[in-house]
């Protein structure tokens, strides 16, 4: 991978120009990310400075008007929503990828992939509207109020399913055909090939896809805001309404001032840290896959 760069001994002039242009664009993206981080730190500084950050993990709860900024309940809710969505979407996504690579008739492969791409492209507010008018009333009939952790998990699972399915399919496609043919030559059944050869070989690619999906789930705002109920509490059951960090920011930012506003920026910083960690993990996974 890396050594291929050094095979080109000298760049032509056109190449040099292109290198400068693309290089500066890449740099601009990095600078932009740095500026976003700086803004988040600067705006949240009033509450972070002087040990004020401990307020995010102590106190009675989230009562910004009373100066109480305990984020823990919303942090747990955020993690529970994403974990639950992964729990549903990963098995389904991987199964759908296995089907389209190993069992599906040829004519069905492309339509299936198109549908997945389409699902991935639906705006989140559309998912949210559907959730609010169809899913939430359905859950409410079962156990009111309906707007709950469960609804949020189901909506998120639907939203990240295409990511998981498409990345898993790509990972399975990258398994060398010789491995599969070798396994077939040894007399393994198709089930044996899938479970014993293809999935283990593709596992790092699948894992990376799942991490990318987790990042999307953590950052999703609009759809969750519409179906989760937005009550600040640590979820004790699937039917409890919860408020995730992103929804909190969207709900309160237009009206927040002073420390309240700074606390919202600090919660964005926290989200950014979690996502950065996941991205780093995904990057490590990707590096291993290429070895």
């Amino acid at each position: 991978m890396i050594s291929s760069q050094h095979n080109i001994s000298s760049l032509s002039r056109a190449d040099a120009t292109l290198a400068r242009v693309t290089g500066s664009i890449a740099l601009a993206v990095a600078v932009l990310l740095g500026l976003v981080l700086m803004l988040l730190v600067k705006e949240s500084w009033p509450v972070l400075a002087g040990g004020g950050w401990t307020r995010f993990f102590a106190g009675e709860g989230w009562f910004p008007a009373g100066g109480q900024f305990n984020l823990l309940a919303m942090l747990w809710a955020t993690l529970a929503c994403s974990a639950g969505a992964l729990f549903i979407a990963v098995p389904l996504g991987v199964s759908s990828a296995v089907f389209s690579r190993f069992y599906s008739p040829n004519w069905l492969v492309m339509p299936l992939r198109r549908i997945m791409v389409l699902l991935a492209g639906i705006p989140s507010v559309v998912y949210g509207l559907w959730g609010l008018t169809v899913l939430v009333p359905l859950v409410a009939r079962w156990e009111p109020p309906g707007a709950s952790l469960l609804s949020a998990i189901l909506i998120l699972a639907l939203m990240i399913l295409p990511t998981v399915a498409l990345t898993s399919e790509a990972a399975l496609a990258a398994v060398p055909a010789s491995n599969l043919q070798g396994a077939a030559a040894l007399g393994l059944s198709r089930k044996g090939i899938v479970l014993g050869v293809a999935l283990p070989a593709a596992r790092i690619g699948i894992l990376t896809g799942a991490l990318l999906a987790a990042m999307r789930a953590l950052g999703e705002t609009m759809a969750v805001l519409m179906v989760a109920g937005n009550v600040v509490q640590t979820p004790a059951s699937l039917f409890d309404p919860v408020r995730v960090l992103t929804a909190n920011i969207a709900l309160e930012m237009p009206y927040a001032t002073g420390d309240h506003r700074a606390a919202l920026f600090a919660s964005s910083l926290l989200l950014m840290l979690i996502v950065t960690m996941l991205a780093w993990l995904a990057g490590r996974g990707g590096a291993h896959a290429n070895v």
Binding site: A65, V136, P137, P144, P145, G146, L225, N230, V231, P241
Partner: protein, 279 residues
């Protein structure tokens, strides 16, 4: 000879420059004199901002600066002269008689239930007990055996403020099952849950109810929740939105207040879910 010519050109150039700078200074000075500062209620601020934009378009060179900070700030700033116009989402108190209130719109909220819910009226006390979690089933209020889903607004919304103020509640006393952002989300939440109770701006709810959304507005203290009753000041769960001036307004402030009270901004008032004035 040449030197003199050069000198002449130079000095005339300098003169032109000075004249230009002076003109631009005078220009900015007069534009700065055309600035209207409004401070106060965060309920009115978004509306004042929209009215300000339209006012600026109609009066080139005028700038309208809107800052929120609560009705109390609006009253204090208008009195101290820190703002040309204050904004207060309440009537003036007797001790504030040195100021003048100019009503620009009325804010009214209505309690909504699902259309299938047979409960037709609730007293203030009952609503209070529902929102504080003392009553949890519609059966206790003569309805069907169904759990009550309490729909509340997110912190900072003006509807929440008016609701809390009317029922003398604190937000931390409320046991909500769903917290919503805007009116539409509230209406969809109640429309999708037969046991839900919520409160939203009357204008939106009346429109949705008339267009087939399965909700119904409850009367308050026997007064039906309609835009007309809010406009007449008969509906209890409502409040005036006022611009405040110290004494009779004059100059640009007077023109702005007259513009904000005119029919030319009714569409802006309605777009913010407030009720325009009766004229």
């Amino acid at each position: 000879m040449k030197n003199i010519e050069v000198l002449f050109y130079r000095s005339s150039f300098r003169f032109v420059m000075i004249a230009l700078i002076a003109a631009s200074l005078i220009g900015t000075a007069s534009a700065a004199g055309q600035k209207i500062v409004l401070t106060g209620s965060s309920t009115i601020a978004p509306l004042a901002l929209e009215i300000g934009k339209r006012f600026e378009k109609l009066n080139p060179g005028v700038r309208v600066d809107v800052q929120s900070g609560g009705s109390t700030r609006g009253v204090n700033d208008a009195r101290a002269g820190l703002a040309d116009i204050g904004m207060a989402s309440r009537a003036l108190k007797p001790e504030e008689s040195d100021l003048m209130a100019h009503r620009i719109a009325i804010d009214g909220i209505g309690i909504i239930l699902h259309r299938k819910n047979p409960v037709q009226a609730l007293s203030d006390e009952q609503i209070k007990e529902i929102y504080t979690g003392k009553i949890t089933n519609w059966q206790q209020l003569g309805g069907e055996d169904r759990k009550i889903t309490v729909v509340n607004k997110a912190e900072g919304r003006s509807t929440l403020e008016l609701f809390l103020h009317h029922f003398q509640l604190r937000n931390s006393d409320i046991h909500a099952h769903v917290v919503i952002g805007d009116n539409q989300q509230g209406i969809k939440t109640v429309a999708g849950n037969a046991g839900a109770i919520g409160y939203v701006s009357i204008g939106t709810a009346e429109y949705e109810e008339a267009h087939g959304t399965p909700i119904h507005l409850l009367p308050m203290a026997g007064v039906p929740a309609t835009v007309a009753n809010v406009r007449d000041g008969r509906f209890p769960l409502s409040r005036p939105l006022n611009l405040i001036s110290k004494g009779a307004p004059s100059g640009m402030a007077k023109r702005f207040i007259e513009f904000a009270q005119s029919a030319a901004v009714d569409d802006l008032v309605t777009a913010q879910y407030f009720v325009p004035l009766a004229r």
